[in-house]
Symmetry: C2
Amino acid sequence: MAKKSQQEFVQHITPRDEDFSQWYTDVVRLADLMDYTPVRGCMAIKPYGYGIWELIQKEMDAAFKRTGHQNVSMPMLIPESLLLKEADHVEGFAPEVAWVTQGGTEPLTERLAIRPTSETIFCTMYAKWVQSWRDLPLLYNQWCSVMRWEKTTRPFLRTSEFLWQEGHTVHATAEEAQEETMRMLEVYRDFCENVLAVPVYCGQKSEKEKFAGAQATYSVEAMMQDGKALQSGTSHNFGTNFTEPFEVKFLDKDGAQKYAYETSWGTSTRFIGALIMTHGDERGLKLPPKVAPVQVVVVPVAAHKEGVLEGAKAVADRLTEAGLRVKLDDRDNVTPGWKFNEWELKGVPLRLEIGPRDLENRQAMCVRRDTFEKTPVPLDEIVESVKATLCAIQKNLYEIARAFRDARTKDVFTMEELEEQVNGGYARAMWCGERACEDEIKERFGATSRNMPFDQTPIAETCVCCSKPAKKLIYFAKAY
Amino acid sequence: MAKKSQQEFVQHITPRDEDFSQWYTDVVRLADLMDYTPVRGCMAIKPYGYGIWELIQKEMDAAFKRTGHQNVSMPMLIPESLLLKEADHVEGFAPEVAWVTQGGTEPLTERLAIRPTSETIFCTMYAKWVQSWRDLPLLYNQWCSVMRWEKTTRPFLRTSEFLWQEGHTVHATAEEAQEETMRMLEVYRDFCENVLAVPVYCGQKSEKEKFAGAQATYSVEAMMQDGKALQSGTSHNFGTNFTEPFEVKFLDKDGAQKYAYETSWGTSTRFIGALIMTHGDERGLKLPPKVAPVQVVVVPVAAHKEGVLEGAKAVADRLTEAGLRVKLDDRDNVTPGWKFNEWELKGVPLRLEIGPRDLENRQAMCVRRDTFEKTPVPLDEIVESVKATLCAIQKNLYEIARAFRDARTKDVFTMEELEEQVNGGYARAMWCGERACEDEIKERFGATSRNMPFDQTPIAETCVCCSKPAKKLIYFAKAY
């Protein structure tokens, strides 16, 4: 039965190298992260998927608070007139807005957008809340959902409604706004690398790829196992682009009325997509311990034998008391083999098998999800050992992803090299800075510029595309 | 300056007995809990107000998890056809739904409701997720916002959009569903009384007042300081009212296909309104320590004198390290008197004043927000003393509210007594069970039935209204 179960699971997951996209869909579905709903492009996030999101929220919210931010809640509806105030912004977002036109039985005199993002409503309120330099900075964030009417959707990667956080801040000077923009980019980098174990490239977006209405957009870009880029977080400096039309003004120390400088930054449930496509394998999900809803699963083997269930429960209890997230799988209607496969599919970092002989030997068999390494661990040392192994798994997942990413990133100097490289990786190239070259690369190879790293040491003198003098070092890749 | 500031604050708050409603609005605004927005009936919840909500969420979410519930996320949009499936439900909610009719540039073929509540979408998904008795129960909750197109709105009490949690569960038997309904009512009671320090009456709603589509609705009802009722949480047993039209069926142990039994239960940012109107006074908000974003404010007095600021900071740091939520108010542009008033207005439970003489005497002056009692506390004992005082404040706030509530609740036997009693309190009366009597009481006195307590020991034999034989003991009150 154990063997049969194993096959049953495995045969449902399409191999990664056969069809990566189908592999992703299979894992999402079989790991029970979400389900499709009758609402176009909107997901139901199931407990296991939401559990990952709760851990992401908890870690990230703490990082926001450490950096002086506070949470607020703004209305989900935005009157059309507010959206229209910043020209680039409305042009960027209008095509994908869901409009409320009727409230109860009465048609509305003005359409209301379900927020696609909240710069306009934040600036409307900031205009009321900011009077003097003493009111600045305002460092606010909200956790909510936003709606963008997407034509083609994929679970966690691109959905019409998605959960996210959006930080919106206003400052007295351009310098402070730029510092904030960089600070939050660094919060995102640190979070991706040290919590999600997802290495990222940090840098500035091109004019073409920046946020609608921003002066400058910075991003953290991850690489999935098919070599495609996943933009995982963005941090925007708006300068006074919004604060001028929205009249967010303050009386400065020098007695002059000035416009405030604004930033915003956001990340979303896309992170869950990043986790799956960075770490997953043929057996399913592989979760970094820091965001695993279950860090350790304890599976009794030959549970009908005397003392086994009690022994397994005692171990689970000790680990739970030590602050770990533990699941004792004491189901009696599936075999241990079935359980092993199911928890591997769900990406649980560590499995402890406890059978009669283990109990005799005062040990548990400890199996790592990342390496499948199997080690007997004395019960006396179980808490320390499990904690150390979880740390090792967290580190190993990052290192594997980092090595993969680095191996799949290459400097390119010709269009031929670029074409080959973006077929499964990032191309680092020199660029003239003109949109025409980005457009050509997009059209010919389906790749887009990702971002310009902060270290701009040139690797060549001419643009990879047009051969004119190069101005910028930049990454190109196909992207989600 | 201190005196002037004090007056400035005080003169902005309308006295409670002059105009309770205006007092409420003043406190909400001056304590900086929220602001009005250009979106009809929708609030911006500011950091201090949202900080209270975060603490409410944290405590309540832990209670949900302790009772075996898991969080999920469902779409915010619900197709009209789903809303139409349960007749009473759509009749109850259709008049207050905000409708999305356009997505991007295309008109929708079917209108989408912004969820007013999510029974219909949960049941749609449960129909997919429930196959066998082994899948039951499903005990899910979500934290989100909902939209009800209200005609008249008041901050935190009745707004078009509000933040809430909604639990939705399905069970194999009617008994289990009823147990769950009662379990969550008890979670709400415990939370109101032991976290918010708000005493509540628990009981069953009348047929007239029950939730649209429910078989039975239970509520926790609080009493505000104007004697009016605030329904603070509801727990519904739906039986199979929704699971039948939505076909939530399962194969039971006996091999038969059966409909699952469903419950739902919800509470909202209304809790913040309950806190204000239960505990507040002429100086503003008065927060129970368990949900106070700032539990202790440390105010240096004569902060320019050597060592004062450092001394105050050292105390604040020690309290923070001890796990308390502490604010050191080291602003140099307002006087200590101004600060005292501001933090009283914001309802901070405890204030520590630290001046040069206090430091000489190795003490801090400790001032309680609930009693204004002023006690010197030796710095050596400050952590234990502050913790003990916060416990005492939590307890005292509950006891005061409880005594007020009990004093304003009376048994009534005639319509004259009822009329007098609902002018500032709860009337406990016998009732024939007929809607006509509820309608008459509503029409004549503006009072509604609140709920029927579980202890149904009769206090008379005939209905307070029609004098026919009484069937139920029930509370009447004017309500928010």
